[in-house]
């Protein structure tokens, strides 16, 4: 067995608090996945119903149309009722689920007054937000 590291008096509270925090995160993740799957399925029903017998073309890379490549365009396309827009919206919700988890972690670490981990988590969040909103800056 490994020697237990030095623990402060608040240790047992910390353990209890963190297990609670992780359970909440797990529920948050599951809710995000369920919501996203629901939206994707709704879009899929529309999409498959619209042109079930058309032929698929995935051999060559053409890229996606502009409105399916950024957050703003996807939301707009989904709310105008386009099937592919709704499916992409569901996928966007899926991508946003881990981001929500990171935001929640920042709050949880802040409540614990763990400033070091608030900073670490903020770094992770800024990388995620950069990827989602600013990655077009580098060509």
């Amino acid at each position: 067995m490994v020697t237990p590291p030095n623990r402060d008096d608040g240790r047992s509270f910390r353990e209890w608090y963190e297990q609670k925090m992780e359970n909440t995160i797990a529920d948050l993740l599951r809710a995000g996945v369920l919501l996203s799957a629901f939206v994707v399925i709704a879009g899929a029903v529309l999409y498959l119903g619209a042109h079930p017998l058309a032929h698929v073309a995935y051999r060559t890379f053409a890229g996606e149309p502009e409105q399916l490549k950024n957050v703003h365009g996807i939301v707009r396309s989904a709310f105008s009722g386009q099937a592919r827009g709704i499916m992409q919206m569901g996928l966007l919700l899926l991508i946003a689920t881990p981001v929500a988890r990171v935001v929640f972690s920042i709050l949880a670490f802040a409540v614990e007054r763990d400033h070091m981990y608030v900073v670490f988590t903020l770094i992770v969040l800024s990388v995620l937000l950069y990827s989602l909103f600013g990655s077009f800056l580098i060509a």
Binding site: M1, V2, T3, P5, N6, E15, E18, Q19, E22, I25, A26, L29, R30, G32, V33, S36, A37, G43, A44, Y47, L48, H51, P52, L53, A54, H55, V56, Y58, R59, F61, G63, E64, L68, K69, N70, R84, M87, Q88, G90, L91, L94, I95, A96, T97, P98, R101, V102, S105, M116, Y117, F120, T121, I123, V124, L128, Y130, S131, L132, F133, S135
Partner: protein, 287 residues
Amino acid sequence: MSGLWQTRGLNVLEFTFLVWAGSLIAGFLGALTGLGGGVVLVPLLTIFFHVNLHYAIGASLVSVIATSSGSAAAYVKEGFSNIRIGMFLEIATTLGALVGAYLTVKVPPSGIAIIFGLMLMYSASVSHRTRPRTDVEKPPDALASKLKLNGSFPDTNGIRYYNVYRVPAGFSIMFGAGALSGLLGIGSGALKVVAMDQAMKIPFKVSTTTSNFMIGVTAAASAGVYLSRGYIDPSLAMPVMLGVLIGSLLGTRVLVRTQTKKLRLIFTGVIVLLGIEMLLKGFTGAF
């Protein structure tokens, strides 16, 4: 192997159903064997369905987020995962993932195929290695203590405490794992476990559960870049994501009740074959 669906074009319904079914099987076997379904998705889509490599990588990455987040509940409630280790190392994996996602735009498809083939071979080889565990009495590592990484988990005889070592080595491997995840659209769980379990001496159960926890955040870091590059096609990602999600959830349910040794061997064999095919295609420039 190739040319299976080539002779006549598939319509949207047929294609969607077959991709969904294939992804479901991949997710099911991946969860059942613990090898992860993500690693076989890209070969499945490119070799059997002739999907362009970039679209395949995009769809695979999205499904990786779904399985990681969907199965988190099952892992977290056991109390093995260490949220501080996960969050600290996610700095490395997300930065790596961002770099990997940019690289996937620059590296020619044949290069990606070769790296993918090697990664498949690697995954197959790690799955059969058993590591002798020696718990030597060592004083806690200064850096790990400062970063509050040492932790505990419930064991059969009470709470077990563990210390974390070699933080810089683990952090560096995590950066690499993130880069591979962003480059290939996989979870790279195998490499994440190696960083924690082998380099940082974190107990195996803590390593695997924390790794699963990290995969979603890592993948989300490259997903934004993929999205803005047009790699994520909703019509393709839809059946892949729904198939893998359902398959992996079924797989985790069945996991407790089945003898998986034989299945694991078969699935490893499949991974090796797909690895060879990816390498061949990469070297012959078939992508």
